[in-house]
């Protein structure tokens, strides 16, 4: 019981992360809640578009398409309210995989390279520049979020025939032991069709494991960077109780963008103001003194 209480945020987060995957499988499971992928999908019929993909589209195609912008703005509004990188910490399947990769990193790491914290802003700009120059949404080509969600949403397939999805036979097949091959054809097997683009995801994870802990999510992903920028103005933040904090630094270990806790723990601020924070709330779970909590930051605090 105690253990669950100690890990309540982590458990809740895992549930949300798995729900994302369930959402992606919604058409297959005939849940009727969600269609599409994390680049663009429809939740209860409302079109949602990944804001970075929308920007990418506008830069590449050099046009404005209103339904797309509305779909992106809905998400922008939502993540503004719940706190920018909540997408990373609570929704993104790559982040989930990366979390496991980081566990393996502890065991198998050869190096732990740490590029500069600003590298992700350079990459963000670079991707958008490339999109403008090449007129192609360059990041969407390699986006591991797109690749993984396409593979989940489209990968598992219904029975197939050479002429498309098979209609169910309207004739009852009697169990005579000798049915015609036309009734039970090998075409009708279920199949899982993985796309070779998954290699890119594997590459990211392997680098994670051997060379650089959480490199993609921390230093590269422009989607994460977009939410970092958005999160700067978000009201949902983690607040630290300096009185209770014993500076045991245990929270540093569980924090993926590890540097976001340094300033608050050292006491220079009451809030985790660095929006690289994914609001994963691992720190709250681990803190032995319950010095951390999630809170709304409305008024601007004065730094001491």
């Amino acid at each position: 019981m105690n253990k669950i209480a100690q890990n309540k945020w982590r458990i809740l987060r895992r549930i949300v992360q798995l729900s994302t995957i369930l959402l992606l499988l919604s058409p297959l499971l005939k849940l009727g809640i969600f269609r599409g992928t994390l680049i663009s999908g429809e939740l209860f019929g409302v079109l949602l578009v990944d804001p970075f993909a929308a920007i990418d589209f506008m830069f590449a195609a050099k046009m404005i398409y209103v339904p797309l912008i509305i779909g992106a703005l809905i998400l922008v509004g939502f993540y503004f309210i719940v706190g920018g990188r909540v997408f990373c910490g609570w929704v993104c399947p790559i982040y989930l995989l990366s979390e496991f990769a980081q566990k393996l990193h502890k065991k198998f790491a050869l190096y732990n390279m740490k590029p500069s914290a600003s590298s992700k802003y350079y990459l963000f700009t670079l991707f958008l520049l490339l999109s403008v120059i090449t007129s192609k949404p360059v990041f969407e080509l390699i986006s591991p979020i797109g690749i993984i969600s396409q593979n989940i949403a489209l990968g598992v397939d219904r029975p197939q025939t050479q002429f498309g999805k098979e209609l169910e036979s309207s004739v009852e097949i009697s169990d005579s032991g000798y049915s015609s091959s036309l009734m039970n054809d090998s075409y009708y097997d279920w199949q899982i069709l993985f796309n070779s683009s998954l290699l890119l995801v594997l590459f990211i994870l392997l680098v994670d494991i051997f060379f650089s802990k959480g490199w993609w999510c921390r230093f590269a992903c422009p989607v994460g960077t977009f939410y970092t920028l958005l999160g700067k103005f978000s009201p949902v933040k983690i607040k630290i109780d300096h009185v209770a904090c014993t500076k045991c630094n245990e929270c540093f270990d569980v924090c993926m963008p590890s540097n976001v806790l340094i300033k608050p723990v050292q006491g220079s601020t009451k809030w985790v103001i660095d929006s690289s924070c994914t609001n994963c709330l691992n720190c709250i779970d681990i803190c032995p003194e319950n010095a951390l909590k999630i809170s709304l930051k409305i008024k601007k605090e004065i730094h001491s």
Binding site: F163, L167, V171, S174, S176, Y178, S179, S180, L182
Partner: protein, 831 residues
């Protein structure tokens, strides 16, 4: 190698590669079903043995050459020496040899044990079958057993089956007579044509030949989608049309817009069943405008009136059919004229929905004395509750105008099966028939059979057996206890299928199915016997133009599959009459080495001298198809005086009669005219078989009568069923050819675009089609290859995963007993 023509080499090696890649390995060959058959063929430079054969599908009877290496078919080609197709095929014929090599060929006998079909040995299966025959025949008599055969039987098989049922079983059954419960699936296909031929000319099968196509200038297609169902013939019609496009006309009469309608000059879309009114209108037009050939009618015709309100066979045992349904009463021409006078254009237009102008235009074409008119029809006329009537009405049109039995002129009933003519009709595998148009009711005919078979006449049952629909109804009613199905798939092709399938599963009837693949029929069988197919046995088919075509055994059958004759013979061997004799001794007493020859010659003796003369075995083996009546030049004893006047077009050794009843082409007609100097015969045409009518053909008077089930508020649509070019009948063969299956993978329901628009249906929507008998779901096709008229839907029946026959109606023509698959009432809705 140096003598080898390079182009030939490339061509044939490409062909061998293509087919060889598909050839399945054949099991070990057992010699004991050979019955004297030897693998035949001439060897070419590549070591491919070529031998002639006939296409296994429709009634056109296209010749093919089959090339084998060792025991596998490695190549096929059209047979240029076959008069019926001159070396061309349709796409089904192109893939013909692949039907041998489907992956689920039946190779072992199966016996149902605890509800499951279990592999067994031949001995076990045959012993079981023989014991059932013995038990049921001794307990319930000959009427409790039945056999359902096929127009796909080879002529040999049909004849062997006929003998088995009508002669052999008489030695076992408690009542001492054979069983007439033998009907072929041709009952569902050709029976109306047969009945009409017999009632009009007293001799079955068309008088003309395919050569009519080259001579004619006006083609009437009556509800026949020849473009898809008789593709090679249609390409001949189109050739005639293209040679003189302004003069040659194709007039299509149908209930739906087909690919023939597309190519036609005039398309008359009539309401289902109203073909009766249109044909009567044509007759009315001909008589009113005095366009009939007075002389010809005087010489060759007699007028008769049919009974009306003859019922639809909806009740078991045909209880709703009056006893006199088939009666014809002689009338005068005046009475006939009066009878058809009410069918004026207005009345016909009201019934048929065709405009008066169109009706008149068509009537002008069919009656124009200068035009050479040939009428073609198939299932639109035959699968019709008044099928015999409407067939006879078309004969009447041709008789009145004298456009009959002449090159390019005549009514021509096409067939749907490769040997509907050869096996079902000529052999007479019907409940009422014996070979060569003889019937069991007639004692003289029975005597002829008894003499040929060397059995006492009282072994042949004079009582007509149960025809197809009543046969399967009798299974449901419990009076038939044993059914042997050969080369057919009735549990997909019977109308109102739900009733019959249920009966087959639940009722105490022992069902034996001999087939090559698992089908809907093997699924309900108690014993399944693996059969050899097509060129895996020696055989012969007879096509629609009376052409008999023979082939040798070319490859051996896979596994333990055996031909049907062997199967019947083995059962007959197990049916013991006394300690020393078996049924086989009585009916299949032929030497093994010459089995097929002796069987053929015995069968041939029925036809010789009856103007139905089938060619001798040796001739058939050599020639690429021979038309009957076969009269050899060196055997002209009866025809010495008339021989000189006979024109022949095919072969110098014998007369191949392209136009029967015509003294110019038919020695029998020439002889008949010579023997009857007291009569005149206009154009030298004599209906010499119509002995009961003073050798005159019948011009028939019958009115329009409605269909058995017509659309109403609850079921507002007509349903019509049929075929498509790519698949043949129940698809058990063509659906196993991957290329054909790829082309047309499933049956669709064709809907009229206006209906579709009104109901918001688009191509690909799933449509539930419901009738009073059941419901089936089909994807919709709108504006496709077949466009039914408003208020009608069309569904092909080849798809075994969606059985349209679950909703069709088991009504039938009271005269021909042929069910009507073209008309019943359904409702459609989005599924």
């Amino acid at each position: 190698m140096s003598t080898l023509d390079r182009r030939d080499f490339i061509k044939s090696s490409a062909a061998s590669l293509a087919v060889a890649s598909l050839v399945a390995s054949c099991g070990k060959k057992k010699a004991d079903d050979n019955l004297g058959q030897k693998l035949g063929g001439e060897v070419d430079q590549l070591g491919i043995k070529w031998d002639k054969a006939v296409c296994r599908f429709c009634g056109t009877g296209c010749g093919v050459m089959v090339g084998r290496k060792e025991d596998k078919v490695v190549a096929t080609k059209g047979d240029p020496d076959c008069y019926s197709n001159k070396g061309l095929n349709c796409v089904k014929g192109y893939f013909l040899s692949k039907i041998l090599y489907g992956k689920d060929r039946l190779t072992k006998p199966l016996i149902r044990k605890n509800g499951k079909l279990t592999e067994s040995s031949w001995d076990e299966a045959l012993d079981l079958i023989a014991s059932k025959y013995e038990e049921i025949l001794k307990r319930d008599g000959n009427e409790a057993v039945s056999m359902f055969g096929s127009g796909q039987w080879t002529i040999f098989e049909g004849y062997a089956a006929l003998k088995f049922m009508k002669a052999g079983l008489g030695f076992i059954s408690k009542d001492g007579v054979g069983s007439n419960n033998l009907d072929p699936n041709a009952r569902m296909c050709m029976a109306s044509a047969v009945a009409a031929f017999m009632r009009t000319f007293q001799s079955d099968e068309p008088m003309g030949s395919y050569e009519d196509i080259e001579h004619a200038d006006t083609f009437f297609t009556w509800g026949a989608n020849m473009a898809e169902m008789h593709p090679v013939l249609f390409s001949r019609i189109m050739d005639t049309k293209m040679k003189d496009p302004d003069n040659v006309k194709i007039i299509d009469l149908g209930t739906q817009f087909t690919r023939v309608s597309e190519e036609s000059d005039l398309y008359l879309e009539f309401k289902p069943q109203s073909d009766l009114a249109i044909a009567n209108y044509f007759i009315h037009y001909i008589i009113k405008n005095k366009l009939y050939d007075k002389e010809f009618v005087n010489d060759n015709c007699v007028f008769k009136k049919g009974e009306t309100n003859i019922g639809y066979g909806l009740l078991d045992g045909g209880k709703d059919i009056p006893k006199t349904a088939g009666k014809m009463t002689k009338i005068t021409f005046k009475q006939y004229k009066k009878f058809v006078s009410k069918f004026d254009a207005k009345y016909a237009s009201k019934i048929s929905g065709v405009s008066v102008e169109k009706l008149e235009e068509a009537a002008k074409f069919i009656s124009d004395p200068k035009r050479k008119v040939v009428s073609y029809w198939t299932m639109g006329f035959n699968q019709h509750t008044r099928g015999t009537w409407v067939n006879q009405l078309v004969y009447s049109i041709h008789l009145l105008t004298g456009k009959i039995s002449k090159p390019g002129q005549g009514p021509f009933s096409l067939t749907g099966q490769p040997s509907a003519c050869g096996t079902a009709r000529e052999v007479g595998t019907f409940v009422h028939r014996l070979p060569a148009d003889l019937v069991v009711k007639n004692e003289a005919h029975r005597q002829i059979a008894a003499d040929i078979w060397k059995i006492p006449i009282d072994k042949i049952n004079p009582k007509v057996g149960k025809h197809t629909i009543e046969m399967f109804r009798a299974i449901d009613n419990g009076s038939i206890k044993l059914l042997w199905v050969q080369a057919s798939n009735p549990f997909q092709s019977l109308p109102n299928l739900n009733r019959f399938t249920k009966a087959a599963i639940e009722k105490d009837c022992f069902i034996i199915v001999s087939d090559v693949y698992p089908t809907r029929s093997t699924e309900v069988a108690d014993v399944v016997l693996p059969a050899s197919m097509w060129i895996e046995k020696e055989g012969a088919f007879g096509n629609a133009e009376r052409r008999t075509q023979h082939w040798n055994k070319i490859v051996t059958s896979p596994g333990e599959a055996k031909n049907e004759i062997w199967q019947m013979m083995e059962v007959a061997k197990r049916l013991k009459i006394d300690a020393h004799t078996t049924v086989a001794d009585k009916i299949y007493n032929f030497k093994e080495e010459t089995f097929y020859k002796e069987l053929w010659e015995e069968y041939r003796s029925f036809s010789v001298g009856r103007a139905k003369d089938i060619a001798p075995y040796e001739v058939l083996k050599e020639k690429h198809g021979v038309v009957w009546p076969y009269v050899a030049k060196n055997d002209k004893k009866d025809f010495t005086d008339v021989w000189a006047g006979i024109e022949n077009t095919e072969d110098s050794d014998y007369v191949s009669v392209k136009w029967r009843y015509n003294a110019k082409y038919d020695p029998y007609a020439a002889k008949f005219i010579k023997d009857h100097p007291e009569r005149t015969f206009k154009d030298g045409i004599a209906f010499y078989k119509a002995s009961k009518n003073d050798y005159r053909a019948t011009v028939f008077a019958v009115p329009y009568e409605p269909a058995a089930e017509e659309p109403d508020n609850d079921y507002p649509f007509w349903l019509c069923t049929g075929r498509v070019l790519e698949h043949w009948h129940t698809g058990s063969m063509t659906m196993r050819v991957p290329e054909l299956r790829r082309a047309v993978p499933r049956a669709v329901v064709n809907i009229n675009p206006e209906d579709a628009k009104r109901m918001n249906i688009v191509r690909g929507d799933l449509i539930r089609v419901k009738s009073r008998r059941g419901e089936v779901v089909f994807p919709a096709d709108v504006n496709g290859r077949t466009i039914p008229q408003k208020g009608m839907v069309f569904i092909p029946f080849f798809d075994e995963t969606r059985l349209v026959n679950q909703i069709t109606l088991d009504c039938y023509d009271p005269i021909s007993k042929e069910p009507d698959y073209k008309k019943c009432a359904v409702t459609i809705e989005k599924a």
